[in-house]
């Protein structure tokens, strides 16, 4: 009888290393050369069947998923500024060129806008719309970004106070005064 121990080498955390023991059937001897060859073929067939790789070895699957390199899908947005493209699926952007330019100069505002959107919907409801627009102050020519909330609710202006108290006032410091929210 032959015994082969095969160590698959990869160790799952906290687990004993897997060992596959292959036990070949005892060779009973052949009466003819042809029978001997057939027995040997059967032995190998049995060996193949026994050491067939464990189909769902979690460690190996993990290693495979770890080393496989992620590639952009054909449908992936090719724009340099994907964050802006994604923002514009949530906000309406009236004049996209100045808004895009403004956000590229002040990229920290993007994070605030991503955080603000769910808050706007929570406050004014699902039917509220949010529009982005660059505002130019005629007094000093300074630029800022305004989020206009378009809502048909009667209490839309009061809700702005609630929005400020519950969220915006704790965040406004990180906007450097470059972002404001208004109801239209």
């Amino acid at each position: 009888m032959y015994t082969i121990s095969s160590d698959l080498g990869l160790q799952a955390p906290g687990k004993v290393r897997d060992v596959i023991k292959v036990v070949w059937p005892e060779h009973k001897g052949s009466t003819t050369e042809t029978e001997g060859k057939r027995d040997a073929q059967l032995d190998f067939a049995l060996l193949d069947a026994i050491i067939a790789y464990p189909e769902r070895d979690a460690t190996l699957r993990l290693l495979d998923s770890l080393t496989k390199q992620d590639k952009p899908l054909l449908t992936a947005l090719q724009s340099k500024d994907v964050a802006f493209e994604i923002l514009s699926t949530f906000y309406s952007v009236r004049d996209s060129v100045p808004v895009k330019r403004f956000l590229s100069v002040h990229p920290a505002l993007k994070k605030l806008l991503f955080a603000a959107f769910p808050r706007i919907k929570e406050t004014w409801g699902l039917h509220a719309k949010a529009e982005l627009q660059v505002f130019s102050d005629p007094e000093d020519d300074s630029l800022s970004l305004v989020v206009y909330i378009v809502s048909e609710r009667q209490d839309a202006y009061q809700l702005l106070d609630r929005f400020d108290d519950e969220w915006w006032l704790s965040q406004a410091g990180s906007s450097d005064g470059l972002l404001t929210f208004a109801v239209r």
Partner: protein, 216 residues
């Protein structure tokens, strides 16, 4: 002025996996919670056309329903074992909306299915192109070259396994002079998605500092 190597992000991918304590094993239970999940995503302008039904599942972790969001850059897959959120072309500015989607979905599923998300995995993969340095020189800074008789080593990659996950740094298969980076972090039990995202962010910053690169 920073003397760090500029690493331009050519592609980035984020993935979150949340697994139930036990799979549901019964697809109908999952279909029954779809209205709650859909309602949670409605503030993010989801429409019925963004919901896709997949064919039969051969394992509990096969996606049965896919929700697409943000011009298909975000995908939320529901399975009998849990849910997966995937996003392409991500940067950290999108973190608030992504964590909101994961949190909302998690709440809708656990409240309606009377189960818990027992384990979580967060992952970032990036294709980065290094500027002003060859891969060989970059390699020297953190890993001694393994000597090969034929001197044919292209890149000494890194695989770090930590208590909580993995770090992988390899030569990019897509971009000349580029590297491929994957950071995986695992969490067990009831953990806040914002806390997990912060850990992932910190680990990315640690890896960038260790490699001497500035990810742009």
């Amino acid at each position: 002025m920073s003397n760090k190597i500029k690493a331009e992000t050519k592609f980035s991918h984020f993935e979150y996996d949340g697994w139930f304590s036990d799979p549901l094993f019964e697809p109908l239970r999952l279909y029954s919670v779809l209205p709650s999940v859909y309602a949670g995503l409605k503030p993010l302008n989801i429409t019925p056309a963004d919901v896709k039904y997949q064919g039969g599942a051969s394992t509990p972790s096969d996606a049965l329903i896919i929700f697409n969001l943000a011009k298909n850059q975000y995908a939320l897959n529901l399975s009998m074992a849990g849910f997966t959120f995937k996003a392409d072309a991500v940067d950290w500015s999108q973190a608030p909306i992504i964590t909101n989607i994961i949190e909302t979905t998690s709440k809708a599923l656990t409240a309606n299915l009377k189960t818990e998300i027992q384990s979580h995995q967060l992952q970032i993969a990036m294709q980065l192109v290094l500027h002003g340095v060859s891969l060989k020189d970059f390699n020297k800074s953190f890993a001694p070259l393994a000597k090969r008789p034929a001197d044919d080593t292209e890149f000494n990659g890194i695989v770090l396994r930590t208590l909580r996950g993995f770090f992988l740094v390899d030569k990019s298969e897509l971009y000349e002079g580029g590297i491929f980076v994957r950071i995986t972090q695992k969490f067990e039990g009831k953990t806040d998605i914002n806390e997990m995202a912060k850990v992932l962010n910190d680990e990315e910053a640690w890896l960038a500092a260790a490699l001497g690169i500035e990810i742009e």
